[in-house]
Symmetry: C2
Subunit: 296 residues, 2 copies
């Protein structure tokens, strides 16, 4: 059977079954990051790998500085989604021997700019020849206070469902320039402790069911509340992917206080309540609204 | 300028200049692993990323189980070369949508086998589509007691130069099945504390000058002492690469005790003294004996 018809979530579930796992692994595959530490440690380590491939996540004609920025910021967005802070990055780049040195240097310039902005130390990496497209993989460590670590799995029926920013249309350029919601996620984890959180990388239609499934819930989505980028259709807001906004849940009783505090703290970034988690087996998204499957 | 004529070491030096670097980075790019921790911490964290690319590090026709084994064992070999123990791995795989699910599962079977054997927890990863060859990148964390952390840079003029095993000819198959020298390196770090150590991945002719340069030394190589695999020429022992043996240095006064203790502890693995470090500017290897440059 070919990967193309298999489904990415199914493949990952298949591959990660029966993985060897030590006693210090708090969370393994399936959340935004792996979480490592002993149950009572004051802080836990977060680990994330994230890859961009030429022709899939960016084009050969894209500005290489923006490609470098994007690659590191994708991984930072995952650390943010756990409530954490990024720390150390390893950069793997595989590139044709015919490539211009200047292009690789420009990718690194973008990586360095993102690293400086978000407090990341680039501590090593690997260069290899590629007989095909350029491949840029980031491994990123981070830290989170144990009491502020937010998983996908903590949502409960009745929790309100929120999204930051506006969705859809990221391919027009935002996917290369986005700002990971690091400050927002840390503030949320410190002040409102979302019950569940993740970053939107494959589109709401793919990612929301993942969060609900991890929380053993279904969800009710108020489609006309989904905040769209200017010009984006609802289908695009559902399925374009690479929004890199936060999707999170919160007990409904905290909703009013959150919205007030958010508007003061982040007046320029919309925060929108788009629905709620429900007990299992009520509504599921229409089949037309699918998110991004890397092998589809 | 194209990468192909630029030289891998020069490229890496260029790219890693001026990287943002926090106060907890003990060793950044340039050694087998990055080393993270405060100066007086009892143990430091090791970080390593290592990639294998189809058509470069393995062939499409190679047994995918052995490809998975190789990918993880390469990174384990780097952790070993610092005197450390591996801990947690992230696996990034980029693969064509036309690929068979069974091949990816077999790669994972090889990864799992290596992880179980060497005590590694695979805690996450990333799957992506590749419009070209299969890429398999491993990010691996590890730990080393601060007092047993061995860098490339600690060698001194007069130190004896050792290599484990036999070199050359790895492409005939050993490169897919090698055993990283984890037990040997930990024993060395605990009992003899090598002044400098690294693993041989690009061939002695490329790697020995790197160790000497990091230690601000030159070296004297006794070419006829270099242990060769059965059938390998001296040139192959110098330049084939992917030996994944340990290269290390030790004060000459410890040499007799080391060789006695080694023969008792590891009777089936040769340990060979192949030369010594010297003060700067004596001998350098002949230009014919170059190691593997990924872009050459």
């Amino acid at each position: 059977m070919k990967l193309g018809g298999y489904g990415e979530d199914r493949l990952v579930a298949e591959l990660t079954r029966g993985l060897p796992r030590g006693g210090d692994v708090r969370v393994g595959p399936g959340d935004d990051c792996a979480v490592i530490g002993r149950p009572r440690d004051a802080r836990w380590q977060l680990l994330k790998a994230d890859v961009v491939v030429e022709g899939v996540h960016f084009l050969a004609s894209d500005d290489p500085r923006r490609v470098g920025w994007k690659a590191l910021c994708r991984a930072i967005s995952d650390i943010a989604a756990m409530g954490g802070e990024p720390a150390h990055a390893l950069v793997t780049i595989a590139v044709s021997a015919d490539e211009e040195v200047a292009r690789v240097e420009a990718i690194y310039a973008g990586l360095k700019r993102a690293a400086k902005r978000f407090g990341v130390s680039i501590v090593g990496g690997e260069t290899s020849r590629s007989p095909g497209p350029l491949f840029l993989d980031i491994a990123l460590t981070g830290w989170v206070a144990r009491t502020r670590c937010i998983l996908r799995s903590g949502g409960r029926p009745g929790d309100a469902l929120y999204v930051t920013g506006r969705l859809g249309g990221s391919r027009a350029g935002k996917h290369l320039d986005f700002i990971p919601r690091l400050a927002e996620a840390r503030w949320l984890a410190g002040h409102f402790r979302p019950s569940a959180m993740m970053d939107l990388s494959d589109g709401l239609a793919a990612d929301l069911p993942r969060l609900a499934r991890a929380s053993a819930c279904d969800f009710l989505l108020e489609e006309d509340h989904v905040p769209r980028r200017s010009g984006a259709t609802l289908a695009q807001a559902f399925s374009d992917g690479e929004d890199f906004e936060l999707l999170f849940t919160l007990p409904a009783r905290k909703a009013a206080a959150l919205q007030l505090a958010w508007r003061k703290k982040f007046p320029r970034l919309p925060l929108t309540r788009i629905g709620e988690l429900t007990a299992r087996s009520t509504l599921t998204p229409p089949p037309s609204a699918r998110g991004h499957d890397h092998f589809a």
